[in-house]
């Protein structure tokens, strides 16, 4: 399957935009990727081994966090997995309202 590497992660993936790995599940694909490019690990996972909160993994159009089988979801050679850090921000000026702290997904309890 193809793994699409976003701009900020490319330097840690041998400078490539797309990497091909052989994998049966999403988890195997990520393990194959970090096996080939160990520097990626700390960008994707916390020291405790959880997927970082701001890293989004999309299997085709679907957020892996919300797939029933999460990282154990089966994949085929035709699938593509996108690794995309989140984009958010703002002035953060409350303008008389309580400041809302964005916490979109939380650290998913996956990859042990």
């Amino acid at each position: 399957m193809n793994i699409l590497i976003s701009t900020p992660l490319r330097p840690f993936a041998g400078g490539q935009h797309v990497l091909q790995v052989e994998a049966g599940t999403v988890g195997e694909a990520i393990r194959a990727l970090t096996g080939a490019h160990p520097e990626l690990r700390k960008h994707l996972f916390t020291p405790e081994g959880k997927l970082r909160a701001f890293v989004n993994l999309y299997l085709n159009e679907d957020d892996v966090r919300y797939l029933p089988d999460r990282e154990n979801t089966r994949v085929s050679a035709a699938d593509s997995l996108s690794i995309i850090p989140s984009i958010a921000g703002g002035t953060g000026h409350p303008g008389g309202r309580a400041l809302i702290i964005l916490q979109p997904a939380g650290e998913a309890e996956i990859w042990n």
């Binding site: 701009t7 935009h17 958010a88 953060g92 000026h93 409350p94």
Partner: protein
């Protein structure tokens, strides 16, 4: 200091987007190519602001939209080089929120001020560093059609 090269039509488009969404924040992506001194932008892509609960002071691009934008970029032989958003009635400087939620290392973050509905100053900041721990914003010069329009500190 790095340089963001921005064609005038994209510069105008970013500012027009900010005026259209005022008093809410607009946001979008910048597609381009890496050069020695910084990004050379070739296209911008408008995005919806998913922070409908607090769009006057927050912005967020849906990840699935980023997946689509990334695909579009690759089809054009370019890549996502950065992002832009507006600061309605606030100066075009990055905020603590902008910094905390910036994760695209090596990419440009353009902020355009919209004062009372009219586009004001436009600045760019490079998210420098190699990890979440040492990341920091650096002022970046914007050069438009080879004409320098200033840097945040200028």
């Amino acid at each position: 200091m790095s340089i963001l090269r921005l064609p005038r039509f994209i510069y105008d488009e970013i500012r027009a987007h900010g005026e259209e969404t005022y008093p809410q924040e607009c946001c979008g992506a910048l597609l381009g190519h890496p050069a020695a001194e910084g990004w050379r932008i070739v296209a911008s892509v408008r995005s919806g602001n998913t922070r409908t609960d607090s769009a006057h002071n927050r912005y967020q691009i849906a990840p699935v939209e980023l997946v689509h934008i990334q695909r579009t970029a690759r089809r054009q032989g370019a890549e996502i080089a950065g992002f832009y958003h507006s600061h309605p009635d606030h100066p075009p400087q990055w905020s603590p929120t902008d910094f905390a939620e910036a994760h695209w290392l090596g990419c440009s973050y353009v902020i355009t001020e919209v004062a009372q509905g009219k586009a004001g100053r436009t600045n760019s900041f490079l998210l420098a560093g190699t990890t979440e721990e040492d990341k920091h914003f650096e002022d970046e010069a914007i050069v438009m059609d080879d004409e320098r329009i200033g840097a945040p500190s200028a």
